[in-house]
């Protein structure tokens, strides 16, 4: 049984203003995740999956409700505090990889460490270890433009994990990849998750991927429902 206090949301709502009108995206969401748990967030497009993930990842703040991250309320946290939590505790994997095109593969991976104040040499050393783990050490000096989609996502996974975060948030990590590559990437992600015992939340359309996670929650009409509760 996992400790469900790692992420704990109660009555969380979020609306966006569009053309002067307030559109609720998620409402009254109760959602808990434990340490080391893997959880898939599934649901149709526009259901609010990414919004939920953004709030979990402190990229966005809820309009209402209570959100405890590692037992601490983040409702009134300042921007710098949120940035510090993201820096130390959370790793992101995006559908579009979001690698910085100017930087080499190894520099992209080392970037989170530079924001932690680590010097260049040490951060590159750590980044190289992580690239070895994801099988991309040979491409360390390449620019992202010279990589395939699968390779880019491996680099993005290395970047998400290099700082040894306690939570990995992946928004459609295989959405831009073919089936073969997608299953390789997922395999990699899960193996590292197990190895480091990090909590993994994946937003996906793919039921097959969702079934590989310990838990599946469905976001539909802005409400979160546990699938196999």
């Amino acid at each position: 049984m996992h400790d469900l206090n790692f992420i704990s949301m109660r009555g969380v709502s979020k609306s966006y203003r569009h053309a002067g009108k307030l559109n609720p995206v998620i409402s009254q969401v109760d959602f808990q995740v434990g340490v080391g748990e893997t959880c898939a967030i599934i649901g149709p497009s526009g259901a609010g999956k990414s919004t939920l993930l953004n709030i979990v990842g402190l990229l966005d703040v809820a309009d209402a409700g209570e959100y405890l991250f590692m037992g601490r309320s983040v409702a009134n946290a300042q921007n710098d505090e949120l940035a510090a939590i993201r820096k130390m505790q959370i790793g992101f994997v995006f559908q579009n990889f979001n690698l910085i095109p100017r930087l080499t593969v190894i520099e992209n991976v080392a970037l989170p460490l530079r924001y932690r104040g680590m010097d260049r040499a040490h951060s590159l050393e750590h980044a190289m270890c992580m690239l070895q783990r994801v099988g991309m050490a040979q491409r360390a000096g390449y620019k992202p433009a010279d990589l395939s989609g699968g390779q880019k996502q491996r680099v993005a996974i290395a970047r998400a994990l290099v700082g040894e975060p306690s939570l990995i948030l992946a928004d459609e990590p295989t959405g831009s990849l073919d089936n073969q590559t997608a299953s390789e990437i997922l395999e990699l992600l899960l193996s590292i998750q197990k190895e480091k015992n990090v909590t993994l939340l994946i937003v996906t359309h793919d039921q097959g991927i969702a079934r590989l996670m310990q838990r599946q929650v469905v976001v539909r009409g802005g409400v979160v429902v546990e699938l196999n509760a």
């Binding site: 953004n54 990842g57 990229l59 966005d60 590692m70 037992g71 601490r72 921007n79 710098d80 505090e81 940035a83 510090a84 939590i85 993201r86 820096k87 130390m88 505790q89 959370i90 992101f92 995006f94 579009n96 979001n98 910085i100 100017r102 930087l103 970037l111 989170p112 530079r114 924001y115 932690r116 104040g117 680590m118 010097d119 260049r120 970047r159 700082g163």
Partner: protein, 401 residues
């Protein structure tokens, strides 16, 4: 969990490395902004140097004239028909201008002949005090003396002496010179003198003789100018009214006009200052144009790198980290522009000096002034896009449009 982690900041070197790296890859747009900055910075440096060298050149014109000299012109609408040299000289001697060195000057054109060579010269009738008043230096022999008053003696300006020596026989002190059918004995030759714009006497092209000698050469000659030098303890501006009053009283039929070197120098430097301000204003306008170019480039840069901003925020960059990233980039652009501009400015000012036939002298303040004003402009115009970037929320920045 410890919230002290927020105190951990990115390494300064990373901010600088990031800035230089992205600046390197900004491409053609950054070259255009750079061009604006280079032109602006270059203008400032160039105008300061051109202004400095103009002042130097202007100062050279007045050099040697001395700020203690005043020149009085005795104009006569009657073309001096009632004037007699001897009477004029007596008038001047009777002026009673204490502590003032006074030299009357009467000048006519004529021909001087030596060894069958005749040249056109300016013949200056004067008194011995002229050597002190104009600070002339003797090359050979001596200048005029009180006891020369009734003698036919002459002192040659440097160019006159050289011209009279051009047929191979160098003219020497003691030789006789034929001037308007009178023979004059050369008693001295002057060293080359710096010609002053204000002085009525062109020293190098003149020959100097006592007033009585000139009266023999040209019976119609009159005193046309009086050159005076004040003593070290006297203030020239206090002397001028007294001189004006006495000269006007002594020469009732003439109009007296007094020119003071210091007044000319002051007027010149006022004019120079205005010129300076004008040029600096032009430089500032260009620099602001460059600054606007920097702002445009930085705005485009922020817009193109929106996703990158979101990503950096997602991995822990704070708002000030994002602001600093773009600010340092603007600063890097401005620094490069300022340094290149300083080089271009110096080169242009040098070219201007060469074309004008001046000796180029670097205005030391031009480089720090040019570079620092450019950096200020860069920071000022780079700040707004940098703040705009830092105000994006991570979600806004990462959104796919």
């Amino acid at each position: 969990m410890s919230f002290l982690t927020r105190l951990i900041t990115p390494a300064v070197t990373q901010v600088v490395e990031d800035a230089i790296d992205s600046f390197r890859t900004m491409g053609k747009r950054s070259v255009l902004a750079l061009l604006g900055i280079v032109i602006g910075s270059g203008s400032i440096v160039a105008v300061i140097n051109v202004g400095h060298n103009t002042s130097q050149e202007a100062a050279k014109i007045f050099q040697g004239m001395g700020v203690d000299t005043l020149f009085a012109k005795l104009n006569d609408e009657q073309r001096f028909k009632d004037s007699f040299l001897g009477m004029d000289a007596a008038n001047i001697r009777g002026l009673d201008l204490q502590h003032l060195m006074v030299a009357p000057v009467s000048e006519v054109s004529g021909k001087a002949g030596f060894n069958r060579l005749y040249i056109d010269v300016r013949i200056v009738g004067t008194e011995p005090a002229l050597i002190e008043v104009l600070k002339l230096s003797i090359s050979r022999g001596r200048f005029l003396h009180e006891f020369d008053r009734d003698d036919n003696v002459v002192v040659l300006g440097h160019t006159v002496a050289t011209s009279l020596s051009s047929n191979g026989l160098g003219i020497q002190v003691g030789e006789w010179l034929k001037i308007n059918n009178y023979l004059f004995k050369v008693v001295g030759i002057l060293q080359p003198a710096m010609e002053s714009m204000l002085s009525p006497v062109l020293t190098n092209h003149s020959l100097f003789m006592p007033l009585q000698g000139l009266a023999r050469v040209d019976s119609g000659a009159a005193i046309t100018d009086v050159i005076m030098r004040v003593g070290p303890a006297q203030k020239i501006e206090l002397v001028v009214p007294q001189v004006m009053e006495r000269l006007s009283a002594a020469f009732k039929t003439r109009t007296v006009e007094i020119v003071v070197a210091q007044q000319m120098i002051d007027a010149m430097s006022r004019q120079n200052k205005t010129f300076h301000y004008l040029l600096i204003a032009l430089g500032i306008i260009t620099l602001v144009g460059g600054g606007v170019a920097v702002m445009n480039v930085m705005y485009m840069n922020v817009s193109e790198r929106r996703i990158e901003i979101g990503l950096r925020m997602a991995i822990g960059a704070r708002r000030q980290d994002i602001r600093n990233l773009f600010l340092v980039e603007a600063l890097a652009l401005s620094t490069l522009g300022a340094v290149l501009g300083a080089g271009v400015g110096i080169a242009l000012a040098w070219l201007y000096a060469v074309i004008s036939g001046w000796a180029f002298e670097l205005a030391m303040l031009s480089i720090p002034l040019g570079v620092s004003s450019t950096l200020l402009v860069g920071v000022f115009f780079g700040l707004k896009p940098a703040i705009a970037a830092s105000r994006l929320t991570p979600v806004e920045a990462l959104r796919d449009y």
